[in-house]
Amino acid sequence: MHRYQQKAYAIAYHFTDGSVQDAEDLTQEAFLRAFQNLDKFRGESSFYTWFYRILVNVCVDGRRRRNRWHKVFLPWHRESGHKGLSPEERPDPEAHERSLKAISGKELSRDIQNSLRSLPEKQRLAFQLKALHGMSIQEIARVMGAAEGTVKSHLFRATHFLREKFKDWEEA
């Protein structure tokens, strides 16, 4: 369990947009679910892939629960023009006016995190598992339960989106 703990925690941490408490809860839930379903592991994939699939499902469920909670308990959330986006995800009009060239490293990090959040769920998942956790496309396909071609498509779209978004930063 120690072997997978840090990596599982890292994946959950990225899923929860940096919430330490939520990441710990999701990691614990994923381990519990894995132990409860250990008899269903048939060795078709590696244990690592099987476990990360459980983890990703737990994280996706967790995010949906959080989004539902936001929708129910934050009515003003729906009143805004940007449906389905949390307050942090809404584009900041001032940010568009500012040149990316001028923003500091910290601001850029925040911008990157916001851009990742604004990606569709599957694109974001494929990008995070590849770029941040170094999984192969084959492994990601197994974890996501999708075809390799589909994963490539999600990954490429996410990368193109981020490339366009940070073109100014690159040119600076």
């Binding site: 703990q5 990225h14 490429f156």
Partner: protein, 165 residues
């Protein structure tokens, strides 16, 4: 300079180290010759590196890791010790004894006052063959009556024939 449009996927696969050896060789040759593709490849590498840097995860402390492990073990122990619902239900004498007593009373009452199945089941149902035999017997018993009917019919015919026109 812009990258070659037909090399977009190759550049991305190269950035993510997903090219097979043959594709990698081909890409290396192209990269050396094409400044546009090389520039795009390097820009993407920097971007992904920057994103990786900005998304660093705090190390899970030994204390937290152990606490996590303990809580998982505790939950597992709870799950294991929790008996299945039917075992739990049967395991309680205050539920099992009245249930068994009620079932016994119902069975005894049914046995004493219920319908007698043995009688019903011993009388066989008449089948098609038996029905035919019963019909034949009916004809035989009424044969005398049918013969009398024929005699009366003949008498009527004679009377009709002898009647003056």
């Amino acid at each position: 300079m812009k990258p070659c449009p037909d090399r977009n996927d190759t550049i991305l696969l190269a950035v993510y180290k997903e090219l097979n050896p043959e594709q990698q060789r081909d890409w290396e040759e192209h990269k050396a010759a094409c400044p546009g593709c090389r520039g795009e490849y390097e820009a993407l590498l920097r971007l992904v590196g920057r994103i990786r840097e900005s998304m660093t995860v705090p190390e899970l402390s030994g204390q937290t890791a152990n606490a996590l492990l303990r809580s998982v073990k505790q939950e597992m122990r709870k799950e294991r010790e929790k008996p299945s619902w039917w075992k739990e239900w049967l395991g309680r004498p205050n539920r099992l004894v009245p249930a068994l007593a009620t079932a016994s009373i119902v069975l005894i009452t049914f046995g004493l006052f219920g319908p007698n199945f043995t009688e019903k089941t011993s009388s066989p149902k008449p089948d098609a063959e038996n029905e035919a035999v019963i019909k034949d017997l009916d004809v035989l018993t009424n044969l005398d009556f049918l013969e009398d009917m024929d005699t009366l019919q003949e008498l009527l015919n004679v009377l009709d024939h002898n009647e003056p026109t």
